[in-house]
Structure formats: structure tokens, C-alpha cells
């Protein structure tokens, strides 16, 4: 049995066009099975039965790629039904069949010969019913969308992810476990780690681990109930490389003594992971004074980790390619809700069609395999670190940016990705044979020019800041040629950790945006369905502007377009009128790659990254704070932590204090919060220039309060010099932290 596909021959021969929609009305909670309805706009006789011609109008079905910023258009489908016999209307009060939303609908197409031959129908669209509205004369107006927009709730795309949250009830429900519990982490998303997260790998200050660790209760090990459990990840990891305390790598001799780490000496468990309360985790254990300090939040633990691997128990291969990480996250944590065990499979539609087209991910990955000197895009990052909750939609945009990808839904209702300039030839459309008269348009979009692309990469999760922020890729040629500098919004590359990849992404994006885009629209017959979004069609049309065709052929002057490649960004189908409208982007506007790029440096501390303690001191409150200190022309980043200060009669660095290297000179204002446990005992705070071995100006704040008091310190800093925060006085319970503001 052959599979029917639309072809130009249908329109040439004037064959019968046979579309119909199948509505699978699943009973509520599936207690009464599924009743299937089939309708068309003409009464159809198929091999397996009759399809009633009750559809009075087919709504246009549209699918599109996400835009350059990850925002995608929901795939929409709809029809108007004349329910004159009240087959559905009378179910509106049915106990089991009165709920119509979140049920599946599939549109099929055959032509006359294919029907006679018994061919498998072509799936034109698959979606989930979002709404059914009554209309005049027993009409019902159906609206359906892709599964991300409708499946779990009407606001699925707005669901906050990660779903798994740190819960005291899971980790420390009763008294013994509570000893190691920190209230400040309740409700935090459980982090998901991808790639190699290690400072040592990136040749920066290796004092600090890449991944924050959170105290989540105590556990009895070998009869000792005082082991504090430190959460690293919400799954098994390939390897925990190094543990840091307060920014210092722990002595290896401590493993198996007062620190238990998977893969290290003395780890007492048979697996590198721990299943707790039905969920899988990567944790380390610590006991002793440092454990107490961790729980109190006066010191911090961090780790260098190799994250998710291919199996789910730590034994597989580290997942390093960003496209593979994207697919893995979407399957297990986006659509799926991984808890424990082996990784989840891609969820399917009722007919077993996977809801994600994994082939699109491998195709996209292959298309960029030659980038970064043949390494492709290798990435890593943490989903959900530092209470980072985002909507599903925002996470898709985040992944798309790090992959230089766009996403959408194909006709099978599958989620797909397409890399930025992936070229998959699909269809050749000509003015003579294919393009409906008057429908071909090429519209320049001068507002689309972006010749300055700011981007940030290498997220430092302990510091909760970018290691490189707002670096800019600039096309001087475009700035000069169009007489204006057009800066794009910052591309935050959350899963990119190296300069080469980040700059490659920025370069490709700049390449596509440095000249005005040309939007192409045309209409053709139903064979236009063969042009899936993200594919390329070649267009031959005498009205096409220009003649250059470096991709395929070089046409003679005066002929307009000859097989001009156009990336299909949007497909709109009208079953009622048998037309497919394609909207796309003219590749030819691109100069040969690579463009000439000038780099404007971002904010990078000289040789160091930032470390941040977590948790709270005796004063309570939340963990680390990231501060932006803005001066002209650039921003500075200074992160610090709450910290316990011991009584001191002389100025001392705030423990776990963060050094600060401004990249520009000028005034800044710090907000410092401080208190003392002993009223009447003063705590002084100042900014100290390590380079010059001197305090900076009048940079002192004094407090005698037992409650937290915020003060401002105004200082003038000089670029390239090292500064620290210092305190004087107080007692064992005093704590300070600094927040910079502008």
C-alpha cells in the first residue's frame, strides 16, 4: 500500500481532491473510550466507510518557524461544522463526552486515483482542539492548535519550568533529616545539568566550582545521622569532578572521611545517583563543622560536574552537542516529566507518531557540524539554577538561541528544529507551472537590519552572572553602507560556554541580519505542501528582483529569478480553495560567508570569575545576589554573598568575599546590608583597593543595629585594579553583603 503525497499532477490532471478531518473525541478520563467523527466538505466514500459532508468552511491552516528570538507562532487549524443532526450538540451534556478541548484532530488528503488504489492518506495537519464554539444554525466552529499550545492546559506554553521543585517533604520530612535542611531552598527548581560544567576547563580562575550545591537535609549513613546531603542535580550525572568549599577545592584526602562524593573514594552506595522519594538525584554528603556552616549559609559548596549522559544512571556517554541536549531536555523535562530511572522516550500521538521529529534535530546538528573548526556546537548549562524558573516558551527561545536554531511544527504535528541557514531542497516552483497569477511578491524589510549583535555567554551559576556579557559582533560594512548602527537585543547564550561557539553563533546571526531581509510570498497548488517549514524551495519568476543565484545557477541578466533559493518560514493551506501560501526569506540577500566582523569586547573580569556563597546567615533570607553596577560606558558586575564575619579589631576581607576588577574607571555606588547580633557593637564596612593597598575614598558604612540595615557606599574605582569588601568589628553573628547599584 503506497503512501499518497500531493503532487503537481493532481492540479494538472484536475483530479478529485478529497480532504477530511478526523476528530477523536476521547471520553473524560477515558472512562468510555473514544468516539471518532469524520467530516469533509463533500460527502466522501472511503475504503473504510462514509465521511459526511458537513463542513461548511475550512479555516486556513497555518504553520510557521519561530522568529529569530525564539518566539513561535502556534500552528492553527479549524473548520466550521453544520451539526444539523446534533450529533455533537447533544453530547454537550453527556457525562463522558462533554469535554471537547484537548482532543486530537487530524486532517487527511487523498486524490481520486489514490483512493481507488487504497493508498495511505496524506496527513495534512494534526492538532489538538482548543475551542469549539456554537454558531448560528447548529453550526460548530472548531479551533485547533499544536500540542504545545493546548495539551495540558490552555496556558501550557506559560507553564513554569522546571517542574520538579525542592521540597522539604521529600528530603527532610522529619526531625533527624531536618537538621541539614535549609528553608531558603524550599520551592527552588531542582537543577538540570548539561555538558561539562567546570571552571578549570575554561582557563579562568579555578577557585570556584561551576555548579551551586544546596543543602537538602540530613541522612544517616553507616549509623551516623549527621551527614548533610548537598544537592547537585535532579538526575544522575556522568561525573562529579571536584568539590569546592568556599571557593577552595577540597583536599582529596577528605573523600571518604568527611565528604562522600560519587565516583570518589569512600562513596558507600552502589550507584552514582540516589533515588529519594521517587526521584533521582546527584548528591554529595558532608559532615562536621563545614556541614554546619553550609546549612547555616556561612560557607558555600560548589562543584565541577559532567552532567547528563545517555542512559540515566551515570554510565552512558556525556551529552555534549547542544542539539542533543536540546532534544534531551525537551523529551525529558519539557514534554516529559522525568522522575527516575532510564530517560524517557519521546511521547507519541495516538497513532504512535512521535510528537518530536528527532530527525530534525540530527539534521540540524549535521548541518552545523563543520562550524567551530569541525567541532560543531558543544555546550553546557544548568536549567533551573538559582531559582531560574521560566515559561516553556522562554526555554524554547533559550535553547534556540544557543543552537542558532528555529523551531516549529510540521504537518504531522511534530515539534521540529531547523538550524539558522540549513538548506534542504524541497520543491521547485515556477511562474509558468506553479505560482498563481498575481500572488508572487518580494518585499524588502529594511527594519530588519541588525549590524550590531550583542551576546552573552558562559553563565557562571555560582556568581549568577555572565562571565562574558554584552560582547558585540559588528559589521562595519553594514553600519557604513546603511549609514546607521542598528543594535539587536542581547542574545543570551545560556548553553554556550566557549568563545569560539559564541562568536560563531553571533557571526552567523550577523550574517543573516546585516542586510535587509527580503520576504517572499507566493501561492501555489496543494503540492506546495511538500515544502515544509524550514525547507528550501527554488523559485523561478520573471518578477524576481536581481539575478544572483550563487547557490544553484547563474541566470542571464533580464530573466529575473531562476531557481532562487527561498527558506520557507510559513505555510498556510486553504483546503476550501486548494491553495498553499508560502512565505519565506530570500537567501540571496546574504553575502558569502563569513562576513567581516569587528568584535567589541564585553565585560570580563581579568582572569577571574566570581564565587558566591549560598544560603542565608543567621539573619535569614535568600541566597546570593547578582548586582549590576552601571557606569558609563559599560557595566560592571560585582557579586558577593552574605557572610559571617568574626569579631575583628582590624580590617579583614569579608569571608568568601568577591574580588572586583572594574573594566572602566568612574564612580559607583554599592549598597551594603549589615547588622550585628550585639546591639551597641558597631560593624564597619569599606571598599578596599588591593592593588593600591588602600581604602577607597570615604567608603565606610557603620551599623550598630541588630536588624539588617542597608547603606550606600559611594566610591570611585579605576579600571584594572582589584577591589574587595572589608569589615571591622561586629561579633560572631555579624554578616555583611554588598549589592552594587547604579
Amino acid at each position: 500500500m503506497a503512501a499518497f503525497t500531493p503532487s503537481l499532477d493532481i492540479a494538472r490532471d484536475g483530479r478529485l481532491l478529497l480532504p477530511w478531518v478526523q476528530f477523536d473525541l476521547q471520553s473524560y478520563n477515558d472512562v468510555a473510550g473514544t468516539t471518532t467523527f469524520r467530516w469533509s466538505d463533500v460527502p466522501l466514500v472511503l475504503a473504510d466507510g462514509f465521511v459526511d459532508g458537513k463542513i461548511t468552511e475550512w479555516h486556513r491552516y497555518a504553520r510557521a518557524l519561530s522568529d529569530d528570538y525564539g518566539t513561535f507562532e502556534s500552528a492553527k487549524l479549524g473548520w466550521t461544522l453544520a451539526d444539523v443532526e446534533r450529533a455533537l450538540l447533544d453530547l454537550a451534556d453527556s457525562e463522558n463526552f462533554r469535554y471537547w478541548i484537548s482532543r486530537f484532530a487530524t486532517v487527511y488528503v487523498l486524490d481520486g486515483p489514490a483512493r481507488l488504489a487504497g493508498d495511505t492518506p496524506y496527513v495534512l495537519a494534526r492538532a489538538v482542539v482548543r475551542n469549539v464554539q456554537t454558531a448560528a444554525d447548529r453550526g460548530l466552529v472548531f479551533t485547533a492548535e499544536d500540542f504545545l499550545s493546548t495539551e495540558f492546559s490552555l496556558s501550557y506554553l506559560d507553564e513554569a519550568l522546571p517542574r520538579r521543585r525542592i521540597e522539604k517533604a521529600r528530603f527532610a520530612p522529619t526531625a533527624p533529616e531536618e537538621v541539614g535542611w535549609h528553608d531558603g531552598v524550599e520551592g527552588f527548581p531542582e537543577p538540570i545539568l548539561y555538558g561539562t560544567l567546570s571552571h578549570a576547563t575554561y582557563a579562568v580562575d579555578d577557585r570556584f566550582g561551576a555548579c551551586p550545591c544546596y543543602p537538602v537535609g540530613s541522612e544517616s549513613i553507616a549509623g551516623n545521622p549527621s551527614w548533610v546531603r548537598m544537592l547537585i542535580a535532579s538526575h544522575a550525572c556522568k561525573e562529579v569532578e571536584t568539590i569546592y568549599l568556599d571557593g577552595v577545592a577540597v583536599d582529596g584526602a577528605r573523600y571518604g572521611v568527611d565528604i562522600l562524593c560519587p565516583g570518589k573514594a569512600g562513596w558507600p552506595f552502589g550507584t552514582v545517583y540516589r533515588d529519594i522519594g521517587g526521584r533521582r538525584y546527584t548528591v554529595v554528603y558532608i559532615i562536621g563543622p563545614d556541614a554546619t556552616s553550609l546549612v547555616e549559609g556561612t560557607i558555600a559548596m560548589s562543584a565541577d560536574v559532567k552532567g547528563i549522559e545517555t542512559v540515566g544512571d551515570g554510565s552512558g556517554t556525556l551529552v555534549t552537542a547542544i542539539y542533543d541536549q536540546y532534544l534531551h531536555w525537551l523529551t525529558n523535562f519539557g514534554l516529559g516529566d522525568y522522575q527516575t530511572g532510564a530517560w524517557l522516550s519521546i511521547p507519541t500521538w495516538p497513532d504512535a507518531t512521535p510528537r518530536i521529529d528527532s530527525t530534525s534535530f540530527s539534521t540540524a546538528k549535521t548541518s552545523i557540524a563543520g562550524r567551530v573548526s569541525g567541532a560543531g556546537y558543544v555546550g553546557g548549562g544548568i536549567v533551573g539554577s538559582n531559582n531560574d524558573l521560566r515559561t516553556f516558551r522562554d526555554w524554547l527561545a533559550t535553547w534556540n538561541a544557543s543552537c542558532d536554531a528555529r523551531c516549529g511544527f510540521n504537518r504531522l504535528g511534530q515539534f521540529i528544529v531547523v538550524s539558522g541557514e540549513q538548506q534542504t531542497a524541497a520543491l521547485d516552483l515556477t511562474e509558468q507551472d506553479d505560482i498563481v497569477e498575481g500572488s508572487f511578491e518580494v518585499t524588502p524589510d529594511p527594519d530588519s537590519i541588525r549590524n550590531v549583535i550583542p551576546f552573552s555567554y558562559q553563565r557562571e551559576y555560582v556568581a549568577d552572572a555572565w562571565a562574558v556579557e554584552n560582547e558585540r559582533a559588528v559589521s562595519t560594512l553594514s553600519v557604513t553602507g546603511y549609514r546607521r548602527r542598528r543594535e539587536d537585543q542581547v542574545r543570551a547564550l545560556w548553553f554556550v560556554r566557549d568563545q569560539a561557539t559564541a562568536r560563531d553563533i553571533a557571526t552567523h546571526f550577523l550574517h543573516r541580519k546585516m542586510h535587509p531581509a527580503r520576504r517572499v510570498t507566493l501561492e501555489t497548488g496543494l503540492h506546495g505542501l511538500l515544502a515544509e517549514i524550514g525547507a528550501t524551495v527554488t523559485v523561478t519568476h520573471a518578477d524576481g528582483p536581481g539575478t544572483r543565484a550563487y547557490w544553484v545557477v547563474s541566470p542571464p541578466a533580464g530573466t529575473g529569478w531562476v531557481q532562487r533559493p527561498v527558506l520557507v518560514e510559513r505555510v498556510e493551506v486553504g483546503l476550501g480553495d486548494g491553495l498553499v501560501r508560502l512565505a519565506g526569506w530570500d537567501y540571496e540577500v546574504l553575502d558569502p560567508y563569513p562576513p567581516t566582523v569587528s568584535w567589541e569586547p564585553g565585560v570580563t573580569p581579568t582572569g577571574s570569575t566570581f564565587s558566591l556563597g549560598s544560603g542565608s546567615g543567621t539573619g535569614g533570607g535568600s541566597g546570593p545576589t547578582t548586582i549590576i553596577v552601571n557606569t558609563t560606558p559599560q557595566s560592571h558586575v560585582w557579586s558577593s554573598s552574605r557572610d559571617r564575619g568574626d569579631r575583628t579589631a582590624s580590617w579583614a576581607d569579608v569571608r568568601n568575599g568577591v574580588p572586583f576588577w572594574p573594566t572602566a574607571s568612574g564612580p559607583i555606588t554599592l549598597k551594603v546590608e549589615q547588622r550585628t547580633d550585639n546591639a551597641g557593637t558597631s560593624v564597619s564596612v569599606r571598599v578596599y583597593c588591593v592593588t593600591d593597598a588602600s581604602a577607597v575614598g570615604s567608603a565606610t558604612a557603620v551599623s550598630t543595629s541588630t536588624t539588617w540595615v542597608e547603606r550606600e557606599i559611594a566610591v570611585t574605582v579605576e579600571a584594572g585594579k582589584k577591589y574587595v569588601l572589608q569589615y571591622l568589628g561586629g561579633n560572631a553573628s555579624a554578616a555583611v553583603y554588598a549589592v552594587g547599584s547604579h
Binding site: 478529485l16 459526511d52 459532508g53 511562474e431 509558468q432 498563481v436 498575481g438 497548488g525
Partner: protein, 265 residues
């Protein structure tokens, strides 16, 4: 001179019978669909040949048989049998299926059986339509009309009667005039004519007919030219409003505008 024949919906006996089929039905099809006044919803047998059987429960008069929306091959045989018992052949009348049209659409056909051997105005309980010699892939009929009586318009169609035919499709042109065309597979025949009614009885008959269709909701069986056995169709009035123009005392003129119900595609 040809006559315009009509059979109002209340004269169609077929929906009141109990229908079965042999040797069986194709998956997804039902036997009663062959007599549900919906020619677009056919009944299909599980084999290329076989029969549909109707049991009225008691004897009913049938003067006219019409077969519409079928897929039978040219020249095969449709045999109408009827009798007091199931399978009886008191009436045993064979009809040759007419050749299909040039566009491949099969032709409906009808036969008035008042002159057929075994005919009785009292009718029979069991009626059967048997297909033999069919070589088409499917044995499928959209509608079997068993009319109690069929009536001729007494004065025929007036001068200027218009018959039209439309095949539904979708057509677009490229810049070079090349056509992108999708056939919808639906052919609609339509007739518009004026009819002179020269007596009160004639007027009443037409009024009854229109009322029986509930303003055009229910289909009638019409034959616009009784010299052509393939001219039969199930049709509905185009307008809900039916007007009768009094020309002179006892003489009325009425405009009939009717469109055929399409069969299944």
C-alpha cells in the same frame, strides 16, 4: 411531447422498509443507507455483486424504481424482484445499467413498472434489487427510490424551460495561463421552468407537492424528460418560497426551480 414526472417525498415507500443486504456489507456501510433520502450517503456491498432486500412488513404498492448514485459498471444487470415472500419473483424485471457519462460519472436510471409482468396495484411485501455482472470495484448505490406512484405534470414544462449542469471544482491560473485545478467530483443538474396549472385540482396537486417537501428540505424524485430513462434525479426546490401567479380565472402559473442532490464523491 415529453412529460415532466414527479414523485413527492411522501410517495417514496423505500424509507419505510427494513433493508438488508447480501452477501454482506463493506466495513463502515449500512444497508438502510440505500433508502435514507440521502443519495450522497451510499450503501456498499462487500462483494461486486449481490442484492439489497426490502421488507415492508405488509404489501405496498410500488409503481416506479429509481437507482441513483451508483458505481455499477456499464451494461451490468439490475434485476427488480418482488413478491409475497422473501426472494419471491412474482415481479422479475431486469434492467441494463446505462453507460457512464463522458466525464466518468455513472448515470442514474428509473423504470415505471406498471406494465411489467406480475405488477399489482396492491403491491407486495418483499422487494429486492439484485446486481449481477458488475465489474466495477465496488457495488454501491446511493439511493433506491421505490415510488408508490409517479405523476406527470398535466401541461408539461412551459416554453423556455432551462436545464443546466455544473461540475464543482477549484481553478487557479498561473501568469502563463496554466491551470491549477482540483475537481470536487460533484455534478449538479438544475432545472428552471414555468408550469401552467389549468385547474384547481392541478394547482392543489402542486401545492401539496411543495408542502410535502417542507419548503425544499425534503427531496423529490423528478424526471424532466420521460423519454430518457437516465434523466431521473433526486432534487430539492431552490426556494423556500413557492409562488403561484393567477393568470386568469382557474389558471395559475408556477415557476419550478429545482437542483439535484449530489451523490457521494
Amino acid at each position: 411531447m415529453s412529460n415532466f414526472l414527479y414523485c413527492p417525498p411522501f410517495e417514496n415507500q423505500a424509507p419505510s422498509g427494513t433493508w438488508t443486504a447480501s452477501p454482506g456489507l463493506a466495513s463502515g456501510f449500512l444497508a438502510p443507507w440505500v433508502a435514507d433520502s440521502r443519495p450522497e450517503r451510499p450503501s456498499r456491498l462487500s462483494a461486486q455483486n449481490g442484492y439489497w432486500n426490502c421488507d415492508f412488513g405488509s404489501a405496498k404498492r410500488v409503481d416506479v424504481l429509481a437507482i441513483l448514485g451508483h458505481t455499477l459498471s456499464d451494461g451490468c444487470t439490475v434485476t427488480l424482484t418482488a413478491g409475497a415472500t422473501a426472494g419471491a419473483t412474482t415481479i422479475n424485471h431486469a434492467i441494463t445499467v446505462p453507460a457512464a457519462r463522458r466525464d466518468g460519472t455513472t448515470r442514474p436510471f428509473y423504470v415505471v413498472i406498471t406494465g411489467v409482468g406480475g405488477y399489482s396495484a396492491s403491491g407486495y411485501r418483499y422487494w429486492r434489487v439484485t446486481i449481477s455482472g458488475n465489474s466495477a470495484t465496488y457495488c454501491q448505490i446511493g439511493e433506491i427510490w421505490l415510488g408508490r406512484v409517479i405523476t406527470a405534470l398535466p401541461n408539461g414544462l412551459g416554453r423556455g424551460a432551462t436545464r443546466s449542469e455544473q461540475r464543482l471544482d477549484v481553478v487557479h491560473l498561473t501568469n502563463r495561463g496554466v491551470r491549477l485545478r482540483y475537481d470536487r467530483g460533484v455534478v449538479l443538474r438544475q432545472i428552471t421552468a414555468t408550469v401552467l396549472l389549468t385547474s384547481t385540482a392541478q394547482l392543489t396537486a402542486v401545492q401539496d407537492w411543495h408542502q410535502a417537501t417542507k419548503g425544499g428540505l425534503l427531496p423529490s424524485l423528478i424526471v424532466t424528460d420521460d423519454t430518457d430513462r437516465t434523466d431521473v434525479r433526486m432534487a430539492v426546490f431552490d426556494e423556500q418560497r413557492q409562488s403561484y401567479v393567477r393568470k386568469t380565472m382557474g389558471v395559475h402559473e408556477v415557476t419550478l426551480a429545482m437542483t439535484e442532490l449530489p451523490g457521494a464523491v
